[in-house]
Amino acid sequence: MSFLRRKFYSYYLNPRIEFPPRFDRREYAFILFNEDTMHRHISFSSRNDILSYLKMNVPAHAYYSSAYYRHPSAERMMDKEWMGADLIFDLDADHLPNARNLSYEEALKEVKEELKKLLSFLMEDFGFGERDIKLYFSGGRGYHCHVCNEKVLELGGQERREVVDYITARGLDIKKVMGEKNLPAEKFSGRFSIKTIKINPNQGGWQGRIARAIIDFFKRIKNMEGEDAIKELVKIEGIGEKTARAIYDALTDERMKRIEAGLLDQSTEFRKIAKPLVTKLAVSLHSEADEPVTADIKRLIRLPGSLHGKTGLRVTGIDIKKIDDFDPLTDAVVFGENSVKVNVLKKMEITMMENHFKIEKGEAKLPEYLAVFLVARGLAEVRPP
């Protein structure tokens, strides 16, 4: 038995599994060590059966279906008879635009920021309560957010896609969301009617989000030194130095007051400014090429409490109130301190269980939890004893 499998076995002797709601209506799937194929269409009628399976087979990866089926172990999808599915969001470092240059720890921090944005959409806009939402560290490079609420169970693929589009701002029509109107002439110049946008930071939905972001943006610009402000403004697509200067010079106290009251003149410029703000507010849920998995009504998701075969970390639940405190490299660790002799393949630094390690290439004695993590990630090897 390989080192990793032995360690996983020791965990699965007495694992802390969180069973999904209606666990007996779900399909389960497993990938075993040294196998590429997935064992699918498995169902369990008791929790104990799940535990026995884990102990017997010691899988490297364990999944269950977000969907509920009448016959979860049927081999053909159509025979399973779909009954509904939880709404699942998969936030993964691989979906971030700059993920490649980040370390494991940094990448996870970035994903956590996306997770917080997602939560604000789910709770403020969609009105889900803490009871409806469960958060998990995926064991890998991301977080999963499960929404279990009877109202969302029956949403079909296209309806789920609308939810995803909302959160990722796909198809957002800035013109429509910002609401343009021509105000009566005397309000501004006395002579002309000027195209003015009226935004309202107290509005719900994207309207309010964009309004608040624009007002904050101008406050920030106003507080900057001239040249810094120009630099910031020309970063925006479609705004040249001349326009940037004009915008900055026009930001008088009087004008700032109008902006804070939600009155924006020169509508086209504001639309340009709003664009990158929308990108920043939206959740990066998937890369362009990737199919958004949330819209999939029959996807597989990692079983909470199981171990991730590529890290040895546990798929771990997170209290919504304590997101900031959650540290995957401490809170998702299940292995102990016993020292293990390994051959490290690459020099690296890492903080785990609040200990900082500087590891050189070559033989080293490391605590078991770190050894498991490195071996699982392919950064170290253990010679058979």
């Binding site: 889900f128 296209q158 609308e162 719900g204």
Partner: protein, 315 residues
């Protein structure tokens, strides 16, 4: 509606009476008229109701119309009739107080409070392929989507249409209905067949489709879940080159979440069979921003997928 149903039950009027008794002659005439208007005009017109008798005839005409529709045994008619009745409901909602809309909403099981509707119900009934109806462009707070009164009415119209369709799609009428309305049913059947025939048009050369469309077809046929805008693009294109609804529907049939009735409704909407608005095929720029463009060598200098087809299909 439910109330009318209850009322009809309470009257203890038998089907025989409705079908044969002289007293209900006017209800029978109006029942036939409802179906004819649905076929000819696509909407059931409201009638002036002055006396109590008018009201009673109107109420009884509805189950009669439904029995006639069921007797014709045409899915096309069921769809057209369901829509026409739903449109009638929409028209009356426009002229009524908000409380009437609330009442109808509750009947349909739609969660509405004032002008706010819960987002799952919104998604069930809103034509979200239209950019103006996309959820992301709507104001939503704590799960409720803010709408105008006429938009709420529009969603309830769709809920009613669905309900009537689902009730009639598998309904059987008592055999007497076929006897009583023999001539009327024959007339309606002929019209329906004629209308369906008219929608079939010329030959489509698939080899002339641009790569974006070919890709979409391949994806849909392979059962890959294609984004909304992709489906939209595909339907508008196939419609523009003259494919009929049945053929378009066949392409979508292998989609993982295929729902024949829903897909048909969306296709009919996009192609103007329902709304009267024929949605245009998006131009290349738009398709590109959606990430659906996979140009080949013939795409150079082409700005619209239909130009590509017209150029290639001629050869």
């Amino acid at each position: 509606m439910k109330e009318a149903k209850e009322w009809v039950k309470e009257q203890k009027v038998s089907i025989e009476e409705i079908l044969f008794d002289d007293l209900y002659e006017r209800a029978r005439e109006r029942g036939v008229e409802r179906v004819r208007q649905a076929v000819d005009e696509g909407i059931v017109r409201e009638v002036a109701m002055v006396s109590e008798a008018d009201c009673i005839m109107e109420i009884f005409s509805y189950p009669i119309a439904r029995m006639i529709v069921a007797s014709v045994e045409s899915d096309y008619l069921v769809r057209r009739y369901a829509l026409a009745e739903a449109k009638k409901a929409y028209e009356s909602m426009k002229n009524e107080e908000g409380s009437f809309i609330d009442y109808l909403a509750r009947e349909m099981g739609v969660e509405v409070s004032g002008n706010e509707i819960y987002f799952t119900d919104y998604l069930k009934y809103a034509p979200t392929w239209d950019i103006n109806w996309k959820l992301v462009n709507r104001e939503m707070r704590k799960g409720y989507v803010l709408l105008s009164k006429s938009e709420v009415a529009r969603l309830i119209q769709e809920a009613i249409r669905k309900k009537i369709y689902n009730e009639l799609a598998f309904a059987f009428a008592p055999p007497e209905v076929k006897k009583v309305f023999k001539d009327e049913i024959l007339g309606i059947k002929n019209k329906v067949i004629f209308k369906e025939e008219k929608r079939k048009v010329g030959e489509v050369k698939e080899e002339g489709f641009p790569p974006c469309i070919k890709n979409l077809i391949a994806a849909v046929k392979a059962g890959i879940n294609v984004p909304h805008v992709g489906r939209f693009t595909l339907v508008t294109f196939l419609n523009a080159v003259g494919m009929d609804i049945e053929e378009i529907l066949k392409i979508f049939a292998s989609s993982p979440d295929f729902n024949a009735e829903k897909t048909r409704y969306q296709i009919e909407h996009i192609t103007g069979r329902i709304s009267g608005t024929v949605y245009a095929t998006p131009k290349c720029d738009t398709i590109r921003t959606w990430g659906l463009c996979y140009p080949d060598e013939y795409c150079r200098n082409i700005r619209h997928p239909l130009f590509y087809y017209r150029r290639r299909a001629r050869k």
